[in-house]
Amino acid sequence: MRKAKDYFFQSLLWLSAIITIATLCIIVGFIFYKGIHLINLDFIFGDYSPSGGGGILPMIVTTIYTIVISLLIATPIGILAAVYLQEYAKQGRLIRIIRFATESLTGIPSIIYGLFGAVFFVTVLKMGMSIIAASLTLTIIVLPVIIRTTEEALKTVPLTYREGSLALGTTKLQTLYKVILPSAMPGILSGIILSIGRIVGESAAIFLTAGTVAAMPENIFSSARTLTVHSFLVTQEAGDIELAAAVGIVLIVIILILNLSATFISKKLNKADY
């Protein structure tokens, strides 16, 4: 009887895992099946042409721009904010407010971020539709992710490291950048990986702030089109699912490369541990 129940739940676990894995395989399979025949060097490295036949290099470049700029801004701010919450702040009203704010920010739909960015960064701050306006909007979107994951990572740094360092007559600041942050790095990196996913996958917030200009961006004040926006547009206007899927393949590869390198870096940093 007990065994039967165990058996039942065990099967349930296997079944769920199989469903999850199968679904995910089907989706990736679908994307590759639909798009792989469009992938070639011209497609990836060619310049875009509205009259057809061109590549998606401008979108790849724009996507990389947005990732780099958003992370350059969000990572330091997010990490420092987490440091404050975790290492400095005493529990109290202020902390509760900050926590509440970060948590609420996670739940806001990206279209609302987009609308906000379109008014605040694009119009009020006069950035115009530009990579920088989109990146700032994305910064707000990924900030909570980085703050939360960094906080979790800081929590796992043993108290003994802090004590050991402070007992040697160092300041908190020194302890922080010499001991605490390096040991929290793997966790922080995983937060960055999640953020990359979020940035790369975002469309609504980007096309309202960076626009959809399908040309190689000259600088960060240019209006431009990311890969995801591109796949969104070709789906919406041209109904070209194959092209959207091909763009999706490129995105998957980019994410894969970024994730692998982040994991690699975190392994490298972790080596110090052993």
Partner: protein, 265 residues
């Protein structure tokens, strides 16, 4: 110094200079009082052992001496702790205090860096950059900690690859590299195997001619072996403080006797 605590400090008659004077120290974790009117003089150069059952406040007291309790939210302290004629809770220079009063913890807590970087960590943070000075300092400290020979060929490899006992001695070297005057040790051997324990005990015996050492230990034999004076803590109070032989052979207080003969804990 203070006259109020003379009754307890019978062991003090030898007129050795006092390094640390604690007077009427009370400590609260939030609402809960953990130390009750602690008064004790700790002599310069030599080993003072703190013994007592678990939770009696030994660690708490030890950590007041280099203000490590500052890290804990809601700790309130009253009373005076004077080290070298300076009231450490009046001054705001914790960094200076902690530079002077080093600490070794129960579990070896080396940083995930190389052995060299661990030992050089403190001095570097004080702004010492010269390679030569650092090299010398690291070597001297590791030698003093009786670990130089075992690690001299692997200074650049990770400190976490060492055995527990070796790590603990590197911790001591790390503390020594700061050229402290006082070294606090909180159960420094409780995580170590017997052989490492012996090595660390020998080291303490050697160090006591240069440093003022205060050591917390659960191990009565260890207290007997390494210390000159012993304080017995119970429920946040010092029950008895005297020469180590006295405490172990003819304690004044029944509770001390119960404890050292193993009726407790």
């Amino acid at each position: 110094m203070n006259t109020t605590k003379m009754d307890r400090n019978k062991g003090n008659e030898q007129q050795i200079q006092n390094k640390i004077s604690v007077n009427d120290l009370n400590l609260f974790y939030g609402e809960k009082q953990a130390l009750f009117s602690i008064s004790i003089d700790i002599r310069e150069k030599g080993v003072t052992a703190l013994i007592g059952p678990s939770g009696c406040g030994k660690s708490t007291f030890l950590r007041t001496l280099n203000r490590m309790n500052d890290l804990i939210d809601g700790v309130k302290i009253s009373g005076d702790i004077v080290i070298d004629n300076e009231n450490i809770y009046r001054s705001n220079d914790v960094i200076k205090l902690r530079t002077k009063v080093g600490m070794v913890f129960q579990k070896p807590n080396l940083f995930p860096m190389s052995i060299y970087d661990n030992v050089a960590y403190g001095p570097r943070m004080q702004g010492i950059k010269s390679k030569k000075v650092l090299n010398q300092l690291v070597e001297d400290s590791l030698k003093s900690a009786a670990i130089w020979d075992e690690v001299k060929d692997r200074l650049k490899s990770s400190a976490l690859g060492l055995s527990g006992g070796q790590q603990q001695r590197v911790c001591i070297a790390r503390a020594i590299a700061m050229k402290p005057e006082v070294i606090l040790m909180d159960e420094p051997t409780s995580a170590l195997d017997p052989i490492s324990t012996l090595k660390v005990e020998e080291l303490i015996a050697n160090m006591k001619k240069d440093y003022t050492i205060v050591i917390v230990t659960h191990n009565m034999q260890q207290a007997a072996r390494v210390s000159d004076k012993t304080a017995f803590f119970l429920n946040g109070e010092i029950i008895e403080y005297a020469n180590t032989e006295t405490i172990f052979s003819m304690p004044k207080d029944q509770r001390t006797e119960d404890y050292v003969t193993g009726r407790f804990g």
